[in-house]
């Protein structure tokens, strides 16, 4: 990046950011509760999206159990808060740790396998967790579901409370993840993504990083889940199906799956689409399917780097891949 554009970027940011911050704080006074609810939903979807950016965009792993971890966040946070009496923020964090622990459990067998094995394993796991949501009715209320106890901040209305809660969580998550991404940890994740073959020779254990990224994304999904539950006010296993997964995938892919900031764009797209297509419900799924197909097809450079084909514009093209056995001439 040339120095000049960096300077310009900095100036722009120093103006835009305070304006946005001010807007965020006074938003509840500017819009009606329903619009505020939508805005909160956007923030929550963006937060959930960051989890997918970490595991998919940065580590290049196809982890499709995101909705399950979200669900764990919804149910466990509520159960700890409502039935067990743990203060809500602590309940949220505990639920998130549980989700990441479970993430490591499923990640463990899958981390050693090829890319799409993880996709299958996580899809299978999502199925199992759906079943679990029905069975463990102490926590989840079984098929019928369970009402979520609302949390209010300082006696504000629930809509306002939820907005500020989501905002605070979002700022923490985005800041933390962004920071991590720019450091050694972020670089190693990308090495697992683009040059997994080389990781061992560099002293990087790709399995460890995959597991950690997976746990981190599960953690973030559960955090988003805790907030999501507040908005739902009543949760049943129906809420956590593949339709929601597709929406999360659209959130990250429309924004360019490697970029954190993209999740905000993606979240806006998904929530607005949901609203616009509310009356023609069946079309929603189709629109999201097409969005995903188009986003993957036309993603500007984002997906090309995932999977290790280094784009070298001036190199000789069409280098054949040499197998270990050296049976094929290079």
């Amino acid at each position: 990046m040339a120095r000049e554009s960096l300077g310009l970027r900095r100036t722009a940011l120093s103006v835009v950011v305070p304006v946005l911050a001010l807007l965020a704080v006074v938003l509840p006074d500017l819009v009606n509760p329903y619009r505020l609810f939508l805005a909160t939903l956007i923030v929550i979807f963006a937060v959930a999206g960051t989890g997918l950016v970490v595991i998919m965009g940065w580590t290049g792993q196809i982890a499709l159990a995101h909705v399950s971890f979200l669900g764990i966040g919804v149910y466990v946070t509520n159960w700890l808060f409502s039935d067990v009496g743990v203060p809500w923020p602590i309940a949220l964090v505990l639920a998130a740790f549980l989700a990441s622990f479970i993430g490591i459990l499923i990640g463990f067998p899958a981390a050693r396998l090829r890319g799409f094995y993880l996709a299958i394993a996580t899809l299978a796991f999502a199925e199992l967790i759906s079943r679990l949501f029905v069975e463990v009715d102490v926590v989840t209320g079984g098929i019928a579901g369970k009402s979520i106890e609302t949390v209010r901040l300082f006696g504000m209305s629930s809509a306002r409370s939820h907005w500020y809660m989501a905002l605070i969580v979002a700022v923490l998550v985005f800041a933390g993840v962004h920071r991590l991404g720019g450091t050694a940890f972020g670089r190693c994740l990308r090495t697992v993504r683009d040059a997994e073959v080389a990781t061992g020779s560099l002293g990087i254990s790709s399995t460890n990083y995959k597991l950690f990224a997976f746990a981190l994304s599960a953690f973030i999904a559960a955090i988003a889940g805790g907030l999501f539950g507040q908005l739902l006010s009543y949760a049943s296993p129906d809420n956590f199906h593949t339709a929601l997964l597709i929406q999360f995938l659209v959130v990250v892919f429309v924004g360019g799956v490697t970029r954190l900031s993209g999740t905000v764009v993606g979240a806006i797209f998904v929530i607005v689409s949901r609203e616009l297509l509310q009356d023609v419900g069946d079309w929603q799924r189709w629109v999201f399917g097409i969005s995903l197909v188009l986003a993957v097809r036309f993603l500007p450079g984002g997906l090309t780097s995932i999977g290790g084909r280094l784009r070298s514009r001036r190199s000789s093209s069409g280098e054949a891949i040499t197998s270990f056995g050296e049976g094929v001439p290079a």
Partner: protein
Amino acid sequence: MTSPLSAENISVSFGGNHVLSGLDLQINRRFTGLIGPNGAGKTTLFNVISGYVTPSAGSVEILGSDVTGLGQVEIARLGVGRTFQTPKLIGDLSVVENVMIGLDGRTSLLAQLSEGLISRSSARAKRARAIEVLEKFALAGVAEEEAGSLPLGSQKIVEVCRALVTEPALLLLDEPAAGLGRDDVEQLVEPLRDWVAAHDVSVVIIEHDLELVNNLCEDVAVLHLGTIISRGTPAECMSDPQVVEAYLGAGFAQRS
């Protein structure tokens, strides 16, 4: 002086394909060339040494320790660096960040997390170290460029920098000059020679560019059909009739 690398009786097969059979190799010079026709098993040998492949027979000793059967990460931590036939860089990171990854591998996951969230000083030190290495190879000018935007030759040199930044004791270079023009080869060879003179490192180079091998390596091993068929100075090996036959076929052996 302990030989930095000693491989004894190495055998590797994939399915029915015997890639390496009873191979013996000891390195005791700074620059050793490993040459041989395609399909001879050179990269496989590197894979055995760096822990990517476990041999079905034989043992490998690096810097005095038996590393047979050890994993890639453990062997790397002993001080072994390597490059690959096609450079494995991260396209959307900058050149200097790519080199820093070499040092990242030496930091534990936990340490990296605290580095990320708390202190920044170790990051600065890493970056300075990476720039130092890039300067030696005349690449400091493109340090902030996206690695993916560089031509292949420069990318391969960046990969060498990444391998060197941890000051390994054993460096394995897999066809470093493949696809490089004359200028690029110079940009690689001279700094590499300087580096080796200034550090305690042994370099093993797989190469098809025989001029480069002649120029750089004091010692050459010729690999053919899974075993070493010739060993000695470049001149000795290249006039060895067995070697000529291996490269060009039986009809040519008589002519040299």
